[in-house]
């Protein structure tokens, strides 16, 4: 399947610091990946990793500092005309994290679903029909009853389904789901994840599932990208990456997840600096926290290197590039 939405060398910088200190936060640094129809790609990382920024870049809430966003082969990042932007928006939509904040408290469910339809040209009775169809798709029944409700009359899970229905309204081919379950109760999350899986199968939508929870990523996604301090540090098929993680950060994430099924090992966690992505110096951004760090790691920024079937990692030690392979093994561990 060919890529529908492709991101190449995407970067986003924000100015930080007070009036005197003018630093630049490299929130997203040279990120590349592709979304294909009928597949869910997970974008995993913690706060500050850049995953949310990528999500917002893809729905044009931010403009990239550099790099390209290719939809069906055409770079859309520089589009300015309303017609082009609107066309993109009919193809790429977003599900937001906060079920309480993502719906307008003063408007009914019907309004939330009807507006996108009207903006993209649907009229009259067609709008109502589609609204009911959408509500049924996400499992909110009876549809006439739900359509007249206000957000405060719905539970968190129901609101999130409305948010999903809204994203589906115009029939997008790509949906960016920005931590769609993190603010929901535990027993409700699975229902939403199942819905995403079903939508992917039924409509062939390409999903980008942004999350900090690896377990849910495994459940719903086919591929995974792990992010740290604005960079992709590992990517590959989700099972492969989680069974045999290459990057030390991925390993740290995996061992941090509460898992009552197996016994838990105490893990050594070193503290890193919160500003690894501000005016980053050359070298690996994870070096301060890494148990495998060698001298090379602090001097040269590792590249994303393929080190397994379809799996790549950004680490001198576990996925050394050909140029630095000898350097790594020559140095004693720092």
């Amino acid at each position: 399947m060919s890529a529908l939405l492709e991101v190449r060398g995407l970067s986003k910088e924000f100015p930080v610091g007070g009036a005197l200190r003018r630093g630049r936060l490299h929130a997203v640094d040279d990120v590349s990946f592709a979304l294909t129809p009928g597949r869910v790609t997970a974008l995993a990382g913690e706060s500050g990793s850049g995953k949310s920024t990528i999500a917002r870049l893809l729905v044009r809430l931010y403009a990239p500092t550099s790099g390209s966003v290719l939809y069906e082969g055409r770079d859309v990042a520089r589009d300015r005309r309303r017609r082009d932007v609107l066309r993109y928006r009919s193809q790429v939509q977003m599900i937001f994290q906060d079920p309480f904040g993502s719906l307008n408290p003063a408007k009914t469910v019907r309004h939330h679903l009807a507006r996108p339809l009207r903006i993209h040209g649907l009229r009259g009775a067609d709008v109502d029909a589609r609204v009911h169809e959408l509500l049924e798709t996400v499992g909110l029944v009876p549809v006439r009853h739900v359509a007249e409700k206000y957000p405060h009359e719905l539970s968190g899970g129901q609101r999130q389904r409305v948010g999903i229905a809204r994203a589906l309204a115009v029939g997008p081919r790509v949906v960016i789901a920005d931590e769609p379950i993190s603010m929901l109760d535990v027993s409700i999350r699975v229902g939403i994840l199942n819905l995403i899986r079903d939508l992917k199968d039924e409509f062939g939508i390409a999903f980008l599932y942004v999350t900090h929870d690896l377990a849910s990523a495994r459940y719903v996604a086919d591929d995974i990208l792990v992010m740290y301090a604005g960079q992709v540090v590992e990517q590959g098929p989700v099972d492969q990456v989680l069974e045999s993680p290459l990057h030390p950060y991925t390993r740290l994430l995996i061992s941090s997840v509460p898992d009552h099924e197996r016994g838990i090992e105490r893990i050594e966690i070193r503290k890193g600096s919160a500003s690894a992505a501000v005016d980053p110096a050359p070298g690996c951004r994870f070096a301060d926290r890494c148990p495998l760090v060698v001298d090379l790691c602090r001097r040269v920024t590792p590249e994303l290197v393929e080190a397994g079937p379809a799996q790549s990692a950004r680490c001198h030690v576990t996925a050394p590039s050909s140029t630095h392979r000898e350097d790594v093994h020559a140095e004693p561990t720092a």
């Binding site: 027993s187 229902g191 199942n194 900090h212 495994r218 069974e243 941090s256 099924e261 838990i264």
Partner: protein, 344 residues
């Protein structure tokens, strides 16, 4: 070699009378139009030095319960029945002065959002000083020194006393809160969703820290969260709350291996596994009930896979009679008609 975050066994006999005894506690939210029962006849005990986990989803009443223990219920919430005993004394009978000493000296609380507890315009050190001087006669320099010791206790650099809250990361702020909660060496620390807003790695750090501290200082913990998997690692015992009632409680290992209440089973099945095969998870259909008009009989029955009209006799009980907590094994109690039937 695996070790849980805390030692799994707490010798009940050695610790004698429980530190906290909650007896048939009832808390209502009373408004002009209606009254909602948020906590309905809950009985629970917390032993000295044990970590008791309280799990449940939003609206189940767990935070209300914690507030009742600390006696910080605010209108329209009011305690309308039962009592809370701390070291044998009824907390509701304490005078204002006694309550002031009680809070923080005997029991302290850690909230979910550290920003709720930390004053954004004061340095951390000054807040320590304020807090300590409110409870004992102590000089500012002595209080600051103690603050430094406490920060070290929670794994932070004591120089951070000079920082403002916004200069610290979320995880660090939460550690500060924990340090403040431990300042007067309380016997019980109530933690209400302390790690929910934090990243998973930071969460792991904090939990390890709490486990270490608990072992070292031997205080009891009431750990409230919606994330049951956390509790199964950290807590000695776990109680599951649903719609204002305790539906199951027992040692965490037992609840993990042999959960008896369908809600507990459903909760455990709501966590996608990180390893092993992936089957489609069912979760729990429906949503938590409207507490102003809860379902008749067993409150979980509309969502329960074992409540079927085919079993007419059982169904009749499930829809009319409220199940009662009964012991099914040592220290393991369940409130479920089906469990009762199976035991018989």
């Amino acid at each position: 070699m695996t070790a849980a975050l805390s030692s799994p066994e707490v010798d009940g006999a050695a610790t004698g009378r429980p530190l906290v005894e909650i007896e048939r506690l009832t808390v209502d939210y009373v408004t002009r139009s209606r009254s909602i029962r948020a906590v309905d006849g809950v009985s629970l005990a917390i032993r000295r030095g044990e970590i008791l986990g309280l799990a449940g989803e939003s609206g189940c009443g767990k935070s209300t319960l914690a507030n009742a223990v600390m006696q910080i219920l605010r209108p329209p919430a009011a305690m309308t029945g039962g009592r809370v005993l701390f070291a044998g004394e009824d907390v509701a009978l304490k005078s204002r002065e006694e309550l002031r000493k009680f809070r923080w000296r005997n029991v302290s609380m850690v909230f979910q959002s550290a920003m709720n507890a930390l004053n954004p315009v004061m340095r951390v050190g000054d807040q320590f000083v304020d807090m300590m001087r409110a409870h004992e006669r102590i000089s500012k320099s002595r209080a600051l020194a103690k603050g430094g010791e406490l920060l070290e206790l929670v794994g932070m650099d004591p120089r951070r006393l000079r920082a403002y809250p916004h200069e610290l990361s979320g995880g660090m702020r939460q550690r500060v809160i924990i340090a403040m909660a431990l300042a007067l060496r309380p016997e019980l620390v109530v933690m209400d969703e302390p790690t929910t807003a934090l990243d998973v790695v930071v969460q792991r750090e904090i939990l390890q820290q709490v486990g270490d501290l608990q072992r070292e200082l031997d205080f009891a913990v009431l750990f409230i969260t919606h994330d049951l998997s956390l509790l199964l690692e950290l807590a000695h015992r776990v109680a599951i709350m649903y719609a204002g009632e305790i539906v199951e409680s027992g040692p965490s290992a037992r609840l993990r291996d042999e959960p008896r209440h369908p809600y507990t089973v459903g909760l455990l099945q709501s966590f996608p596994p990180l390893h092993g095969s992936i089957e489609r998870l069912a979760g729990i259909p429906g949503s938590p009930p409207d507490l102003s008009a809860p379902p008749s009989g067993c409150r979980f029955h509309p969502r329960c896979p074992h409540c079927r009209t085919e079993d007419a006799v059982l169904y009749a009980r499930q829809t009319t009679e409220l199940p009662v907590l009964r012991e099914v094994a040592a220290g393991h109690e369940v409130a479920c008609h089906l469990a009762e039937v199976n035991e018989a």
